[in-house]
Amino acid sequence: MSKYTEDDLREELKTKEYEYGFYTDIESDTFPVGLNEDIVRAISMKKEEPEWMTEWRLEAFRNWQTMTEPEWANVHYEKPDFQAISYYSAPNKKPKYESLDEVDPELLDTFNKLGISLDEQKKLAGVAMDVVVDSVSVATTFKKTLAEQGIIFCSISEAIKEHPELVKKYIGTVVPKTDNFYAALNSAVFSDGSFCYIPKGVKCPMELSTYFRINQAGTGQFERTLVIADEGSYVSYLEGCTAPSRDENQLHAAVVELIALDDAEIKYSTVQNWFPGNAEGKGGVYNFVTKRGLCEKNAKISWTQVETGSAVTWKYPSCVLKGDNSVGEFYSIAVTNNYQQADTGTKMIHLGKNTKSTIISKGISAGKSQNSYRGLVQIASRAENARNFSQCDSLLMGNECGAHTFPYIEAKNKTAQIEHEATTSKIGEDQIFYCNQRGIDTEKAIALIVNGFSKEVLNKLPMEFAVEAQKLLEISLEGSVG
């Protein structure tokens, strides 16, 4: 290494200035469309990954080639052409934000519409932001505070470089690279994502948060998130997605892996608001996500999701309750409007003794949308005293939408206690009348009733997210009064 000279400093300052000008013109460094081994290698090289990671990706890619797209979900869409997608796109230079003013105004605009400027967020709870514009992490804040506690919170590509032992040990252990079509694709081509490691006994002092956004037309986003909570630790992780209007369909195939070691607890909250397509059902994001968490002894994983966006959603955040006394929770609100289709739910795999799981799913369908809950509760023969409670409620608005439930329940142990209930109903005319009578217009009344209907799930969200989620529900159902 050569000495750091004044010349170098001058050079650095020059580049820095250049960096700051980036947001007026994000020049993306985009790969040619199509996918083959060379592209996979190139992605890996671009990210300066070690040999084992390249091999891992290639293996995933080879597996992916032998797989076919799943067709069992209750959704209908034009299949994306995987050879017509560019698999890597990153803002050319890597600028670091120092203040919010430098963030893409369009992004801020979307946030403002939802009433949650980054600013407000920061003030509210001291949220550490890992803003992802396209695929490369461009800003990380509060890193220092976290580092003091030994918490690692960075982009996954950084983690591969700096903490290879952790990544190597855990990546693909919960969602194997051959798990399903989209997970295999993600494993082969994932461009970036977040990595989080909470050391033994540490309670993460703030909510960790990532904002994803797709801003490059025709770019697939393949995020990879890996959260590891070591023994006795606690972390609450927030993930929020917003996407501006795009005409053509965009593919989003993310993989999220959570690992909760003995006595650890992970709370993972998502607000998903990708572009759902316009009122005629044109455009919109395809959201094919694999999310899964592994609970060791006495560990707890809690998934909370508010799904309002995407043209097609295919998402089943799951818990593998491997350790004794582990707990899995799933709280979900899925709203579909216009031509949206959502097939979402959870899987609770009870393997250990005295494992508990709770599923609360609220589906709201309006317009011409189709909303499905698909869940699996599986009690293995050794899972003594396993307990599950599931509740799926659907609310229908108008008679052109559909609500479907596909719960699978498989019990192989006599001590299992499983309860499942589902109801479907509409907003009562008397309820609306009651509100109207008191001067609340119908649109507001519906928002009020929907909020009440979803309360059980909204309550599970961290406070600052709950505010956003409520607004989101209102925006999503705008104009669905019929």
Partner: protein
């Protein structure tokens, strides 16, 4: 030669042997083509995810067993609900047994499918109803292709059938293994009322596979009550396909009592083609050993203001496997639908398995639909309560399980059947419940 090949090669011979008119001939040939194309369902089919037919299909079944008549009423009396006066349509190895049966043509037809298919006077009914509600899944198509015998019941307008009708299929085990494919057609016209009891019983331990199809038409304001008693021995397998087409204001109920058999699959399908229809589907399943019972139900709500009630209870011991797959579809025209579905299960042994999948597909907004499903154990405090009052553990368990299944029994309208089922439950649980209903 596997079973499919055997069926394929014997179809032509069968077709040449039965002498039916062109209409039925065409129906059979078309159905056979479907079966040939689809083959037997495998676990890859979503509807058969939890039930494998492999162990059942590997037997070398005789498709057309020899005629057997040497069966005396006193030997098989116990398989009938014998303490009530009833019409009886009895089949032995798939062939009609006139001396055990009691049929009628007096103001209604309680007779044979073979007669209905061949006699010109039934031609209109056959053309209007035969294979009109049955779906085209592979097993139903297979039955349609080989349909020649079964019960034919036609109740004309405004008739209340005083006596219940019993349809009983015996298999004698004269062949090493037998495959039977009975085909029943039941047409109940306006304002009429009929009660039917169906049973399949093998008399030896030789393997039997029954692939039965029953089509029921409940026309305007008709009331049809159907009871299926499934308590066969451990080498008998039953695939029961029942299709019910309901017209406006009709009431139809099917109670299925599954206590026996090696593998039992009940495909029960209700289609509501009219307003203000009421459909009831209830079942009690109590099995042990390596038995497998699969209830696959469908209620298709097509028009407004209809109701459906489903209630299935299951108790599973030893290595038994229970499957419940209940589907309710509410079309967007079917406003004001009330659809309820409940499935409660108790697992008694560590090796028993229950797979349940209650499924709702709803396209209308002004509806009340719910399903509930539980898997659990007997209430410990209730057990303690009874034991502290001197009731032995076994009896206490029996009482609790009887109480568990009582909801289903309470809607059985024929007291003799209720009594019989109570006894069967007591037998199955190995206790003397100690009271008569």
């Amino acid at each position: 030669m596997d079973l499919k090949d055997k069926l394929v090669s014997s179809f032509l011979a069968f077709e040449n042997r039965v002498d039916n008119d062109a209409y039925v001939h065409d129906v059979r040939t078309d159905a056979f083509k479907i079966f040939e194309e689809k083959g037997f369902p495998t676990k890859k089919d979503e509807a058969w995810k939890y039930t494998s037919l492999n162990s059942v299909l590997k037997q070398d079944y005789s498709l057309f067993p020899k005629q057997e008549d040497a069966l005396e009423y006193r030997d098989v009396k116990k398989y009938f609900i014998h303490d009530i006066d009833s019409y009886k349509i009895v089949f032995i190895d798939g062939k009609y047994s006139s001396h055990l049966s009691q049929t009628t043509h007096d103001g209604m037809d309680v007779c044979l499918m073979s007669a209905a298919l061949s006699k010109p006077k039934y031609q209109l009914v056959i053309q209007n109803y035969f294979n009109k509600v049955a779906t085209t899944d592979s097993l139903t198509s297979l039955n349609t292709a080989f349909s020649s015998e079964g019960a034919f019941i036609h109740i004309p307008k405004n008739k209340i059938v005083e006596k219940p009708i019993q349809i009983v299929h015996f298999s004698t085990g004269n062949e090493a293994a037998t495959m039977l494919q009975p085909r029943n057609l039941i047409v109940v016209d306006e304002n009429s009322h009929v009660q039917i009891i169906e049973r399949h019983q093998s008399l030896t331990e030789n393997p039997v596979l029954t692939n039965s199809v029953t089509e029921i038409f409940a026309n305007k304001r008709a009331i049809v009550d159907y009871y299926k008693i499934q308590n066969d021995n451990h080498n008998a397998s039953l695939i029961d396909n029942t299709f019910i087409n309901q017209k406006r204001e009709s009431h139809a109920s099917v109670h299925t009592f599954s206590f026996g058999g090696k593998l039992t699959r009940n495909n029960l399908n209700f289609f509501q083609n009219g307003e203000r229809i009421d459909s009831t589907l209830k079942g009690v399943t109590i099995i042990g050993d390596k038995q497998h019972v699969d209830h696959n139900t469908l209620v298709h709500h097509i028009e407004p203001n209809c109701e459906s009630h489903q209630d299935y209870k299951g108790i599973f011991d030893d290595n038994a496997t229970g499957v419940f797959n209940g589907k309710v579809i509410v079309e967007k025209e079917a406003q004001k639908t009330n659809a309820f579905q409940a499935n409660n299960n108790i697992l008694i042994s560590d090796k028993a398995t229950i797979n349940t999948k209650p499924q709702l597909e709803i396209f209308a907004d002004d509806v009340k639909c719910s399903h509930g499903c539980t898997i659990g154990q007997l209430d410990e405090s209730a057990m303690f309560y009874m034991r502290s009052r001197g009731i032995p553990e076994k009896e206490a368990k029996g009482l609790l399980m009887y109480a568990f299944s009582n909801n289903v029994l309470s809607s059985v309208k024929i007291p003799e059947i209720k009594q019989r089922i109570t006894k069967l439950i007591a037998n199955k649980l190995g206790v003397n419940i100690g009271f008569e209903v």
